[in-house]
Structures are given as structure tokens and as C-alpha cells.
């Protein structure tokens, strides 16, 4: 036990003191932030897109009210662009063709994003022709249609004798609110969109942390084994302690390193979130989340050891960790559909695959609430898998650390695991 502590302390201190650790401490949150927040900013940026639209009103009467309708606040909801209307003087060139040429010119030169022609094709029938350089520039078809329709509706209502004050009421009478439902211990709970985004953010941060921690300390683990094998320190080590002590010590030391990183990052995240006035959801299930985190970490660490310890050179180590990264990316990729629909059955099923359990359950804990039975089963599955993978990793490690030269074949590896010798 004491030897494990000695090894763990050494592995921890030697790395905490290193420059590499400091750099990764700063670099990783930056990457995390750019990966986690930038897309939101980019998407968020688009919701505030301004579109400049030139409008030629061939009817000669609709333009002011049409512009007013389009630019009205309630039109520019979450996903709508806000419009800036640039009227074209139709009086000068009452010829429709000439107007079209002028407007097209504005579009092509990039002065406006689009060009819109309003005309009354028949008595009481209107058409809106929209011309732009790309489909992307197209305003929401509904926006244009609604703007014109509400003008016509107003006219009709006024002609029927409805007072203008009622018209205002009509415009403001309906508000749409989005509510996201989830089931929690049999009850249905509601979250509004803002809360949902915060939960999403928390879940995303959780996954990112898990991802980077496993990746960085897994890589460190493989590297340190390869280094000790290459310079034969490992021979001194295993004459001083058992391979199991060595492996455990390394894992404990590097885990502490990972948790130090996490602590620092959490502190950074907390400060950041208060600066950005984003609220972190401190879940009542935070402890469970942490439990899955630790379980996932241990499981992946043992996989890293099993795969990494037979490796003999730095290059091979990089290759191997490269393959493992793919494994790690799978749950990360699955995150997006999982967040959109955390109640889906396929997520429940994936929660029972040990490689995915920590991420999937982490998500589900953050987004909804899995049943107690599910939590117990998945934790049990993780414990069993960790036991098995540690056993396998230990057997491979014990032999692999003394073998140099060529990489062992699959058959040799299997025989190591089976016989333990």
C-alpha cells in the first residue's frame, strides 16, 4: 500500500511540476470553450442576421405598411432575421422591366441581400416576387406572406368598421412559448428553453471534461509506460515493487493529476459562467455524475494500459492512442442526437454498453432522470467491466513491461491474458 502511495505521489508531483501540465491546464479550457461555446455563438450570431431588402412597390400604396410589418419586433423572433427595407423609387420608372433591372443590379453588386417586387396581378390578388443571389439570402417566405396578408386583413377589417385599437390588440394577442418536457420519477417536469440550454451546456461541459481528462491522462499513462520500458527503469521498479502496485500507483497518480485539472477547469468554468452570466446547473445528482465520471475514467484508463503497455516506441504509442481517441469520439458524436432527444430508447440501450455508459448516463442525468433501477444496473455493469478490464490490463501489463523489441502478436497477447504468464 505504501509503495502504491510512493509511486502515485511521484507520478503526480513529477507531472504537476512539468511545463507540459501547465500548458495543457491553460490550453484545454481554451479548446473546450472554443468547441463548446463557439458553435453556439456562431448560431447565435445568425439569429441576429440583418437582411437588407430592396422593395419595389408597383401598387404604389403598400410599401410603408409592408415595411413596417416586416420590421416589426414580433416578426423578428428567435430564428428570424431582422429586415432593413430599402424602398426603390418606382415613380421615376413606372416600367416594370426597368425596375427589375435596377433592383437586380443592386442584388448583383451586393448592395442589398434581396430584391422584392410587390404587385397586384389581378383585382385583389397580389404577388410578391423575391429575387436574390443565393437561396441563403431568401427571407422566410412566411415573413413576406404574413406581412402582406396582415395589411390586407387590416384593410378588410377597417372597411368592415372594426376600430383600429382592436387591430393593435389582434397583433399582440398571441404569444408562443416553447416548453420542453421530461419525465422525472414518474412526474412530468417542464423546463423552459433557457433552462434547457443551461442544462445542455452543463451536460456538454461534463462530456468535454470526461473526454479531455481521459484523453490527456490516458496518453500520459501510455507515455510513461513506454518511457520506462524504453530506458528500462521498469526493471528497477518491478524489482522494488510488484507490477500490480506499479500499475495501480500510476493510475492513482495520474487520476489525481486529472482531477486536479478538472478542479482548476471547474473553477475557471464557474468564473466564466458568472462573467457570461450563465448559470451552472448544480444538479442534486451531482454526486452521481461524479460517480459515473470516476467509473468511466477508471474503465478507460485500464483500456489505455492494456492497449498501451505492449507498445515499445513513442511512435507506436501515438498510433495506439490515436485509435483510442476514435473510441472516445463515438460517445461525443452521439451526444448531439442524445441531447436532442434524451428520452429515446436507443439511448437507454446504449447506456448499457460499458464504453458508452458514463457519457450516456451523464447526459441522461443532466437532461432528465433515469430510473433508480437503471442507475443501479449501469453502475453494476461498470463495476464488473472495470474489474474485468483491470484484470486483463494487469496481466498484459505484467508481461508487456518486460518485453521489448517487437510488438506482441494478438495470439501472444491472448495467451498472456489467459495464462497470466
Amino acid at each position: 500500500m505504501r509503495k502504491i502511495a510512493v509511486i502515485a505521489a511521484w507520478e503526480y508531483l513529477e507531472r504537476v511540476k512539468s511545463r507540459f501540465f501547465l500548458v495543457s491546464l491553460i490550453l484545454m479550457p481554451l479548446i473546450m470553450i472554443s468547441l463548446g461555446i463557439l458553435p453556439a455563438f456562431l448560431i447565435g450570431g445568425e439569429t441576429q442576421t440583418r437582411k437588407v431588402i430592396a422593395v419595389a412597390d408597383l401598387t404604389g400604396v403598400l410599401l410603408p405598411r409592408f415595411a413596417n410589418q416586416l420590421t416589426k419586433g414580433q416578426m423578428a423572433g428567435e430564428n428570424h432575421p431582422s429586415y432593413i427595407i430599402r424602398p426603390l423609387d418606382v415613380a421615376a420608372t413606372s416600367n416594370e422591366e426597368a425596375v427589375r433591372v435596377e433592383g437586380d443590379q443592386l442584388v448583383v453588386s451586393g448592395e442589398v441581400d434581396g430584391f422584392c417586387i410587390l404587385k397586384e396581378s389581378k383585382k385583389g390578388r397580389y404577388t410578391i416576387e423575391f429575387r436574390s443571389a443565393s437561396l441563403h439570402e431568401e427571407p422566410d417566405k412566411g415573413d413576406l406572406e404574413n406581412a402582406l396578408k396582415s395589411i390586407l386583413l387590416e384593410d378588410t377589417l377597417i372597411s368592415l368598421g372594426v376600430p383600429p385599437s382592436s387591430l393593435e390588440w389582434l397583433n399582440e394577442s398571441v404569444m408562443v412559448e416553447m416548453v420542453i418536457l421530461s419525465s422525472k420519477e414518474g412526474r412530468v417536469e417542464e423546463t423552459n428553453l433557457k433552462e434547457f440550454l443551461q442544462v445542455f451546456f452543463s451536460a456538454y461541459v461534463f462530456l468535454m471534461m470526461l473526454f479531455f481528462m481521459i484523453l490527456s491522462s490516458g496518453q500520459l499513462l501510455v507515455r510513461s509506460v513506454v518511457e520506462e520500458k524504453a530506458n528500462r527503469i521498469v526493471e528497477i521498479l518491478v524489482s522494488a515493487c510488484t507490477p500490480t502496485q506499479l500499475m495501480t500507483g500510476k493510475m492513482v497518480g495520474l487520476s489525481c493529476l486529472g482531477f486536479t485539472q478538472m478542479l482548476v477547469w471547474s473553477a475557471v468554468a464557474l468564473i466564466m459562467s458568472s462573467v457570461l452570466s450563465l448559470e451552472f446547473i448544480v444538479h442534486e445528482q451531482l454526486l452521481l455524475l461524479l460517480l459515473y465520471f470516476v467509473l468511466g475514467y477508471l474503465f478507460y484508463a485500464s483500456i489505455f494500459i492494456a492497449v498501451g503497455s505492449p507498445v515499445t516506441t513513442e511512435q507506436e504509442a501515438q498510433q495506439v492512442t490515436g485509435y483510442l481517441v476514435i473510441f472516445l469520439v463515438i460517445p461525443l458524436v452521439l451526444t448531439v442526437p442524445a441531447i436532442q432527444d434524451p428520452g429515446a430508447e436507443w439511448i437507454s440501450i446504449l447506456s448499457y454498453i460499458p464504453l458508452l455508459t458514463p457519457t450516456m448516463m451523464g447526459l441522461r442525468l443532466a437532461l432528465g432522470s433515469p430510473a433508480l433501477s437503471e442507475i443501479l444496473t449501469t453502475v453494476a455493469i461498470m463495476l464488473v467491466s472495470i474489474y474485468i478490464s483491470m484484470l486483463v490490463a494487469g496481466r498484459i501489463f505484467r508481461i508487456a513491461i518486460l518485453s521489448t523489441g517487437k510488438r506482441p502478436t494478438m495470439r501472444e497477447l491472448i495467451s498472456w491474458v489467459r495464462t497470466g504468464a
Binding site: E14, N231, C241
Partner: protein, 306 residues
Amino acid sequence: MIEALHLRKTFIRSVAVDDVSFQLRKGEILGLIGPNGAGKTTTIRIVLNILKPDAGEVLYEGNPFSEQSRNLFGYLPEERGLYRKSRVLDTITYFGCLRGMRKPFAREQALKWLESFDLARESNRKIEELSKGNQQKLQFIVAVVHDPWLVVLDEPFSGLDPLNQVTMQEIVAGLRNAGKAVILSTHQMDYAEKLSDAICLMHEGKVLLRGTVPELRKRYGTNTVRMEFSGDGSVLATIPGIKKVILSQSGAECELADGETTGRILGILSQKLDLRKFELVEPTLNSIFLDVVHKKNSPQSSGRVH
């Protein structure tokens, strides 16, 4: 005392160590010699419990291996290397603690050793900044800082310049004087010969010879004579009883046939040549080794087509 009893270890395709036995007392150096691939390193690894033998056992002061035994081992492996980015004193302290020392004591001892090697100034430098010779000394300190009673040195002289080789010889001899049991594994026979109290010669996983150096000399040194003379040395080859002749500028070295005595040969030669010198050759460990290996291989090699 450490006793290795009938150790055997097989790997997937080969037998690395086959029925190896030896014993070693405190205050003695055992020279484990043999060519590369003879099974020396595997033997060492079994003694240090890095590998488990398939058969046989090692007794430490009469007891089988226990986890506590580990703290009594010191090991200098053949291929050297330490944590390049770590600091000298920290590294020694770490290995000391790993062998059961308390940290402050390990630090104190580490400093003492560094001073005795004139390395105290380097104690806060990174290992990669040290010269190669100093790195080797450092590695040696790592092997002995915890005051082990069994010190295993695998090829301690390789990679050292002549000056440092001499220093290392003194250090190894110093370990014996300090009452340690030392296993010195090397393929450099001359060092083994100079330093070892007992020799264990290995070849292809087996112990070919075992004994003290004088014993071995006595056993293998009686049939070669060296002489200096004036006259025609070619007569030597005609004398029955002389098996092999190597002529040189001023004399010759002759290997006598089995059962031949030096006295009879001296009698014959003194009539035919003007002898100035006639002596029994003390065979070097190297020649004994070559001799033994050759003898062992010859029955097989005679069957081969060359």
C-alpha cells in the same frame, strides 16, 4: 547468503535458463559470466523476483522470497536510463522510498552518496543535463541508496570510459568490503576475473562451470605451457604429447595432450631447443570459457558439413 536452486525458465520458443544453481555469501562477489544470450539476465531477473521461475527457487538467508525481500535488493540493470526530466536528488529519493525508506532518511542518504561521488553540486539538476559517466554513477547510487544486502550489477562497465571503468571497479570492490552480496553479470571476462570470488559460467541457459577463480585455473590450466627459446620451433609439432602449437617471435605456446605431464615434455624439449623460459600458463577466464564452450560444441559440430 543467497541460494539459487535448480532454476528453470522457458519462454515461448526457447529455454532461457535450465537448472541453474549457485550460492553466494555476504561479502562475496559472484561473477555471472557468459556470452550474450547465455541466460544471465533471465537468471538475475529470477533472483530479483522480476520473473517467476518455472521450476526451482531462490532462498534469501534461508527464506523463500517475500515482499519484504524486495527492500533488500539493489539493482543496476544492463541498459541504463532514468527519468530524463526529473531532478537528481528527487530521483534517488524516490527509488529509496520505493525500497521502503522514509523520505527524509532517503534524502539524507542520497545526499551522502552524491557527495561521495562528488556529485553534490548536481543534486538539483535534471538528469538529462548530466554527462553520461555521471548518469551511470547516479544509476549506481539508485541501486545502493537503501543499503541493500544483495546488489546485482548487470554489465556495470559497459559504456564507461577507461577512467570511469577503474572507478567502477573500486566501487564494486568497495561493496564487497562493505559486506554486501554482489552478483556481477558481465561478458567482460577480465573484470569478472579480477573482481569475483566465485564464478558461475553460463552458456545457452546452463551453468557450464562453477567455482572460485583459482579452482577453475587449477582445473583448466594444466595443459598449456608457454616457452621462450632460440632454435627451430618447428620441431615442437613433431613431439608426441604436444597437441597444438602456436609459434610466436621468440617462443611458442603449446597445448599438451590429455594425460601428458609437463615434466616429461620439459625433459624432451631441453634436449632439442635452447630453452630460456618454460612455464605453465595460468589460463584466463576467457580461454577457459572458450575451451569449455568449444568442447561442449565439438561433438555436435563434427557432425555438420562445413
